[in-house]
């Protein structure tokens, strides 16, 4: 009961839970498309690629306002996406290596900039290092407002273009034949995934952001064969993981929010794999046992 009362009355915890819910919702919704298009690890690379942007934005403006830092994050992730596109499109280097390079080199650049800002070899002094692991506990009202606006914009766009994104993800060649601008839609969908990443990094950090895109979506897929249901369910799973993780983390000391959110989401996935309506292992096992028994029963009767 304690955490629930805190949720209602404690200002800090309310912000943290609200922020985590927002991030879970938008990550889950857009993550569905990332997973279906096999771009889950692209989200991972782009999340890491936000770090130098956060630092440069701070260095240029001296401001730690969330809007400015997140704009820097988005631009830098966009740069990472372009780099991946250039490498994969222009050379024989495959997507996996391009992702690995962007992920680690951008992150390395971010660490260098963090230590540069701190004026020492220790990145922990600038306060920007919360983007690395995310510190949901530091989320304040202004963050929640920024995250909420960004997330709302992303979700509205997702709803507006839902039919087009579905077609694009299922059958891009057919979409092109109908006259839909496939390239522009691709860019828009990737941009929305960047928005989801940017919304999430403050809470879970760049390293674990991939989980917020992938894990709820993979869990939702176990329960439904309809895209609209999968997207909603994934958003709900994401939001629930966010709130649960935040509350558990608030209930004790030394309980980091980001990892707890990810662990809760992983738990949801495991349950979904076992019990999912159409695919669950448990149902498959029960059905197998029933069949065996029937076969045996008939064998005995004849």
């Amino acid at each position: 009961m304690e955490p629930l009362r805190d949720l209602l009355f404690d200002y800090t915890i309310r912000n943290v839970a609200l922020g985590s819910a927002v991030l879970g919702t938008v990550g889950g919704a857009l993550g569905s498309f990332a997973v279906l298009r096999r771009q889950g690890l692209l989200g991972d690379a782009l999340a890491h690629a936000t770090l130098p942007g956060v630092c440069v934005a701070f260095m240029l403006t001296g401001s730690k306002s969330p809007a400015i830092l997140l704009l820097g994050a988005a631009l830098s992730a966009g740069l990472g996406a372009l780099f991946i596109l250039a490498v994969v499109g222009g050379t024989r280097i495959k997507q996996d290596a391009a992702l690995g390079i962007v992920l680690s080199v951008f992150f390395g650049a971010g660490i260098v900039l963090l230590t540069f800002i701190a004026g020492s070899g220790d990145a922990g002094q600038s306060g920007l290092d919360r983007f690395i692991f995310g510190q949901a506990a530091t989320i304040v009202r202004a963050d929640v407002v920024t995250m909420g606006l960004l997330a709302a914009a992303a979700v509205v766009l997702l709803a507006l273009f839902f039919k087009e994104f579905k077609l694009l993800s299922f059958d891009p060649a057919f979409a092109a034949s109908l006259g839909f601008p496939v390239r522009a839609l691709n860019v828009l969908l990737t941009a929305l995934i960047v928005v989801a990443v940017v919304v999430g990094i403050q809470a879970v950090g760049v390293v674990l952001m991939a989980a917020m895109l992938i894990t709820p979506a993979a869990a939702a897929r176990q329960w439904t064969d309809r895209l609209s249901v999968m997207v909603s369910l994934s958003a709900a799973f994401g939001a629930a993981s966010g709130v649960c993780g935040a509350l558990i983390s608030a209930s004790g000391s030394n309980l980091p929010t980001g990892p707890l959110i990810v662990l809760v989401a992983t738990g949801v996935l495991v349950v979904s794999l076992l019990l999912g309506r159409r695919h669950g292992f448990v149902w498959a096992w029960l059905a197998g046992r029933r069949n065996r028994r029937e076969v045996l029963g008939r064998g005995g009767a004849s």
Binding site: V35, R38, Q39, G40, L41, G43, D44, H48, A86, V87, G90, T91, I93, K94, D96, A97, L99, G100, I101, L103, S104, V105, F106, F107, G108, A109, G110, I111, V112, L113, L114, T115, F116, G119, S120, G121, A123, I132, F133, V207, L208, A211, L213, I214, T215, A217, A218, R221, Q222, N254, L255, P256, P259, L260, V262, L263, T266, L269, L273, F281
Partner: protein
């Protein structure tokens, strides 16, 4: 030994095994497995950290490395259920294990020396301070021992199994046919990568080790077509990134391992742009040259088909090109002495042009 030198040697001992094993990750298109493993060994490292009193350094290395193999096995198992695709499986498994590791550190190790930044980008600057002391004998920096063992292991794996790795990488079918289990090679590589990332953890952390694993081999892949040369080149690039990165970082007082990753990325970007055979600049020049000669070839063929004599306007119409493109191709052919312009707007083929148009390469087959 000066502290500077200790750091540089440690970095080189990280760079060499990473470059060797990373070459096979890049060629087998499994770079992201390297990323996944380097993160997923964290819980193993935490456990080994608590038990390091009772476990020796090698046992901890192998014990933590077992989590890397566990990752590979879990990804495989999840993928094989048919319910989750491979890339999502990788993302799910490594984030879950990494989150578990971070959770363990925050919960149980926050007061000991194993902090969170360390986890991601290591503390190679501390390598001179951490000596391996057995009994009362100082055996020198601990990192030399750990990474020395890892480097030796990587060298043994790559040298002894060179042929096997090569076959399994380029022709899995053939490998299976000659009795070489692709699964065995896969898990061997994954195991070696696991041990390497565990060993490199103290120095460069979970994320930046990926730069050592992937960037130098990918750079080498842009520069050569031979496996042996690629191994050598990526080792060289890894070592150069480590040394150059160290001195740059020291001169600017910024994160050492981060700077090494940046330098590795810089080498990759240079090769990406300037590689003589596969760089973007060379590609685009080649593309333009090809396009020009292709346009010229097409123009001549069409002129021939139109009875050797026609007007620019008709050529535009017939080829479906804009006027600019036709006049560019014509100017090109004029310079080569392939066409003549007997009157304004009119075009005809020269004898050389007719030969070129009907020559052996013009029509296909």
């Amino acid at each position: 030994m000066s502290p500077d030198l200790i750091v540089v040697v440690t970095a080189v001992l990280v760079a060499v095994p990473c470059a060797l094993l990373g070459t096979f990750l890049v060629l087998r298109q499994m770079s992201m497995m390297g990323d996944a493993i380097s993160h997923a060994v964290l819980p193993g490292i935490v456990v080994a950290f608590f038990l390091s009193e009772s476990l020796g350094p090698i046992t901890s290395l192998l014990g933590a490395g077992a989590f890397g193999l566990l990752t590979a096995a879990l990804v495989e198992a999840l993928k094989n259920t048919g319910r989750v695709k491979e890339d999502a499986s990788i993302g799910i498994v490594f984030t879950a294990l990494f989150a578990l590791g971070v959770f363990l550190i925050s919960r149980f190790a926050s007061d000991v020396h194993l902090d969170l930044q360390h986890v991601l980008y290591g503390e190679i600057a501390f390598s001179p301070l951490n000596a391996l002391i057995v009994g009362s004998v100082n055996l020198g920096p601990r990192s030399f021992w750990t990474m020395g063992i890892v480097t030796a292991m990587a060298l043994v794996v790559v040298l002894l199994l060179y042929k096997e790795l090569k076959i399994a990488t380029f022709d899995a079918g053939l490998a299976a046919a000659v009795g070489l289990s692709p699964a065995l090679v896969h898990y061997l590589l994954m195991g070696a990568v696991s041990v390497t990332t565990v060993g490199a953890f103290d120095s460069v952390g979970a994320v930046l080790v990926v730069a050592f694993l992937i960037a130098p081999p990918a750079t080498a892949y842009l520069l050569t077509d031979k496996l042996a040369r690629m191994l050598a080149l990526s080792t060289l690039l890894g070592v150069a990134s480590a040394v150059l990165g160290y001195y740059l970082a020291a001169s600017m007082d910024v994160a050492i391992a981060g700077m090494m990753a940046v330098v590795a990325g810089g080498f990759f970007s240079l090769a990406l742009l300037l590689s003589p055979s596969r760089g973007l600049v060379a590609n685009s020049l080649r593309h333009r040259r090809n396009r020009r000669s292709f346009s010229r070839k097409l123009l001549l063929a069409r002129l021939e088909a139109l009875g050797n004599r026609t007007t620019e306007a008709e050529l535009c119409e017939n080829l479906g090109w804009e006027a600019g493109r036709v006049s560019r191709a014509l100017a090109d052919a004029l310079r080569g002495g392939l066409v003549l312009k007997p009157a304004a707007g009119e075009v005809t083929l020269t004898r050389k042009g007719r030969e070129a148009a009907t020559g052996p390469q013009a029509p296909v087959r």
